[in-house]
């Protein structure tokens, strides 16, 4: 058993992100603008993300199974790693969508990024206070998407590493844990 553990540990130390395909980051993008939907979809695909695009906050809630009027759609199997939403949308705004997501038990831990063409500080503050991970000014840049993706992948890797280390601790410990690994690595990184 211990022999099996050691190579796995070495693998983890050298491994790049666990997100080799098909384990790509799955991003749900929400925007009422046709042009912007096409644009953000391309930005995300170029950044090696799996993308689902919807044209309204209502449809986003339906997709996530959070719409009270609809039956939940296979919520258990749905894995969304990031939600990117436009702020100004007719009907429900991105801000209202953000609130609904943060109120849900299923998706409150999913990072939500808000996008807007308007640089309005109170708006930005409001979104960040409500738990948005980031606020991007439109037009969104490829560098913005890459930055967010990299932070997310780091955070997911760390929580994956945490669960692996936990398993190691729980198994019979013939090889002692590498004491040079700092405990800070197990903390979730804020974007």
């Amino acid at each position: 058993m211990a022999e099996v553990m050691l190579p796995m540990k070495m693998e983890m130390a050298n491994a790049p992100s666990k997100f080799k395909s098909p384990d790509l980051l799955h991003v749900l993008a929400v925007d009422d603008s046709h042009v912007d939907r096409k644009f953000i979809e391309r930005l995300l695909k170029v950044s090696s993300c799996k993308v689902t695009v919807v044209d309204s906050a209502t449809r986003a809630l339906q997709y996530l199974g959070l719409d009270v009027n609809e039956k939940p759609v296979g919520v258990k199997d749905l894995k969304v790693n990031l939600i990117m939403t436009d702020y100004s949308m007719p009907g429900m705004t991105g801000y209202e969508l953000l609130k609904k997501i943060k109120e849900s038990s299923a998706f409150r831990d999913v990072p939500v990024v808000v996008m807007s063409s308007e640089n309005i500080l109170p708006r930005i503050d409001r979104c960040l206070e409500e738990g948005a991970e980031d606020f991007l000014l439109k037009p969104v840049k490829l560098s913005d998407v890459r930055r967010i993706r990299d932070s997310l992948m780091k955070a997911e890797d760390l929580s994956f590493t945490k669960s692996v280390n936990k398993r190691e601790l729980e198994t019979e410990n013939v090889y002692s844990l590498d004491s040079t690994v700092p405990s800070q690595q197990l903390k979730r990184t804020k974007i």
């Binding site: 603008s33 046709h34 042009v35 644009f39 391309r42």
Partner: protein, 154 residues
């Protein structure tokens, strides 16, 4: 016309659009997102922009022609157009929309009518220019050539 000449013409033409301020760097971002796996990306996005804009400009004309102008309807349309023109790099259309919105805020009907004309003018200009640009690209591709990458040193 020789392929090399066509490619030079395209580069010169594109350059002029940037120098005139018709397009801004966002258009370059779009071009950078295009590759062999998505060779029509730019024209697809621009086509969506044309479709959206035609619809919005039509709606704006109707809204501003009403006896009593409902600015709550007018402003969101202009905001939308400002957003989509910004996303494709149609700088002059975007700037015209910014001015338009200030007149909406002031509820100035006369000013809004003038702005709508200005926006339409800039829109038809960029539409015309982009259609020409795509034609030049098509000619190059049809001749078996590759569309040259835009150089930024101008």
């Amino acid at each position: 016309m020789e392929l090399v000449q066509m490619q030079k013409s395209l580069q010169d033409y594109t350059k002029s659009l940037f120098l005139e301020g018709v397009l801004d760097s966002q258009f370059l971002q779009l071009q950078q997102l295009q590759d062999e796996s998505n060779p029509d990306f730019v024209s697809q996005v621009v086509t969506l922009f044309f479709q959206d804009s035609d619809r919005i400009l039509n709606d704006l004309s109707l809204s501003l022609d009403q006896q009593v102008v409902d600015f709550k309807k007018v402003d969101p349309h202009v905001h939308q157009l400002k957003g989509s023109s910004s996303s494709i790099g149609a700088q002059r259309v975007k700037n015209a929309c910014v001015v338009f919105r200030t007149f909406c805020e002031q509820q100035n009907v006369e000013g809004c009518h003038r702005c709508l004309q200005q926006v339409k003018q800039e829109y038809y200009l960029v539409k015309n220019r982009l259609e020409t640009l795509f034609k030049l690209e098509q000619q190059i591709v049809a001749s078996g050539g590759v569309i040259p990458a835009m150089e930024l040193g101008f």
